[in-house]
Subunit: 125 residues, 2 copies
């Protein structure tokens, strides 16, 4: 086991948390599937529409808590400092095939982001 | 590395998802700290008050998605079928010292549980 899935998961993570969405998306298979808290996303475009605004507008910084993996699966947990919440931890379990992420199970608490969205809506004239 | 933290994390997981809270708590240090979505819990008693009602009243079954670890740290992700949500995945990153879980970073989406709680409150006369 070379842990190649973990290496790819970490490279993807570094790229998007560093706000390089083009590089981050290059680690995904075109037909990547992501099961996120709000439901299933299919394809790189949907994935980018999910992750891009978060990375570009809400994320301040991310810090890895733990990362493990083998050749096919990687499991990472990190904390994210965000505009809505100083601590918004997340976990991702990715499956890698032929050097690309083909599946991601993405777990985080939507609560602070929903509260932030509602506050923003309420503050609009 | 014997992966002893992972073995303890898995034994704890099997116990509480099997609704054996006494056994599950026996894997925790008395002064265990758990950073959960709603905030920090300290001590076995608080941990049990957090996990017990979920295990006993809301959990239907749990299924492991991935589990990794070494002697000190274990990272697991599992899906939980629950009364409020058919799929309520969670991730836990536990630190083990002297054979006991001393710390857990617990990540899950509170949204379906909050919605369930609100529906229950609304349905009361």
């Amino acid at each position: 086991m070379t842990g190649s899935a973990l290496q790819i998961a970490l490279a993807h993570h570094r790229a998007w948390t560093g706000k390089d969405l083009d590089l981050a998306m290059s680690y995904l298979a075109d037909d990547v599937v992501c099961d996120a808290p709000a439901g299933r996303l299919t394809g790189v475009r949907a994935y980018r529409e999910f992750l891009g605004p978060f990375a570009e507008h809400l994320l301040v910084r991310a810090e890895m808590i733990a990362a493990f993996g083998d050749d096919e699966t990687a499991l990472i947990m990190y904390d994210a400092e965000t505009i809505p919440a100083r601590s918004a931890p997340a976990a991702e379990c990715v499956t890698v095939r032929d050097g690309k992420i083909v599946y991601n199970r993405f777990v985080f608490d939507r609560t602070p982001f929903e509260e932030f969205r509602r506050r923003q809506e309420q503050s609009r004239p």
